[in-house]
Symmetry: none
Subunit: 252 residues, 2 copies
């Protein structure tokens, strides 16, 4: 397929002027110039333009894009992978901003108060927090980046009120879990109530809940000693019991 400036512009959602400008600065030269002096673009240039737009979307200036892409070390596939990482980062930042706006709305409704610092959360890049450092890698491997990232953002932006609610939920879950273990039946009412409370608790951290992820998490609790230690504090074997209850819960 061959394209003139306008055609390619329409395809990519940019103006013909932009393409001429990219030609002018040597960022994207047409494949050839036809007998009437028209710029003609082919597949190689289409792909190059896509790469350019990815970089542009990520805020890289055109001069740098040119430098990167004309480097002999430039690896298109690797670049795409980098784009992916950056875009995921951008999404984390965007989530932080959404969180910020949510909080700001609550503040105007006098439901919470916000420090000046909090008011600008999400507008700039921030450091990763403890949770991330401790458990980030493992969880990330198992459940994918997206879920974890979203979780981090939610923790950061939590109000005290919400935090208290979560603490209470977890406490209730522990109480139900203990009572359920006395009956010894993970399918029983108490155990299923505990699993349900665990789900509710989880939903404060996860943007979307899925049964599969819930079950997967329960399995990880059992296989990771740090989590086992945490849940077994209620009683020895509690982690496995909780896992069993959750598995039954997700299947029902």
């Amino acid at each position: 397929m061959e394209y003139t400036v306008q055609k390619l512009g329409q395809l990519a959602g940019i103006s013909a002027r932009t393409l001429r400008y990219y030609d002018e600065i040597g960022l994207l030269k047409p494949t050839r110039i036809n007998s009437s002096g028209y710029r003609i673009y082919c597949v190689t240039e289409v792909n190059r333009l896509q790469q350019i737009l990815f970089y542009r979307e990520l805020g890289v200036n055109l001069e740098s894009i040119k430098e990167i892409m004309t480097s002999p070390a430039f690896d298109g596939t690797q670049a795409l992978r980098d784009h992916r990482d950056k875009l995921l980062e951008k999404r984390v930042q965007l989530d932080a901003l959404i969180n910020n706006v949510d909080k700001s709305i609550k503040q105007t409704e006098r439901k919470i108060s916000m420090t000046d610092k909090e008011k600008f959360e999400g507008f700039k890049q921030k450091l990763v927090d403890d949770n991330e450092k401790k458990y980030g890698k493992e969880i990330r491997k198992k459940y994918g980046e997206d879920t974890v990232n979203a979780s981090n953002v939610k923790i950061k932006g939590m109000t005290e009120e919400e935090y208290a609610k979560i603490q209470k939920l977890e406490e209730q879950m522990f109480m139900n879990l203990k009572a359920a273990m006395d009956t010894g039946n993970p399918a029983g009412e108490q155990a299923q109530k505990a699993a349900d409370l665990h789900k509710q608790w989880l939903c404060f951290y996860w943007d979307q809940y899925s049964k599969e992820a819930h079950e997967g998490l329960a399995e990880m609790y059992v296989s990771d000693e740090r989590f086992t230690a945490y849940y077994d504090k209620v009683q020895s074997g509690a982690t496995e019991f909780l896992r069993d209850a959750i598995v039954i819960y997700t299947k029902s």
Copy 2:
């Protein structure tokens, strides 16, 4: 708490120059100037700056931000809610881009093939922006923000298949409209078929259809020359004929 340019800049993640510029253009004036001529900002300005940054993040130019925020009708809380919607939209677009980059990676691995059009999926933000600029205000006034926003989201998330379907629907509508005009009867079978096709077409853009909104839109087509030009291309007077047909359609 009181801030000088640099302090506030650091808090918000912008430069001191930017704050001076915002003062210069009258977008954000400091609370007061101290005895040495320093700009001093307090809580009102901090909140205003936050709003400004939300708008900026969403691509609104400074002149428009100023216009919006100095309007007597400006409602801060409502603005925050709008920001939220827009940010969620932005996330949808970002997801589309991530999807694109994933596909592009797979393509380089020869696992799938991609059309040139698909290569630019997720970049098409601009198209929506344009749409917004051209018709946003009028439609917004008549049908409220929600409907329009929902429409934007739908366009963004549209697959090529869906898009083709819509194009076809519109084409059929035009054909029926033309045939109906030959009969001269807006209540006739052909005209009513055209009105129905128009409704179907519309339902791709609107989340909820209502007869009132449909009729209102038809009236706007007639009163707005840009729309008139668009529909009259089939034949002179076609817009009014379509309006008549739609009015009859919605009453029946």
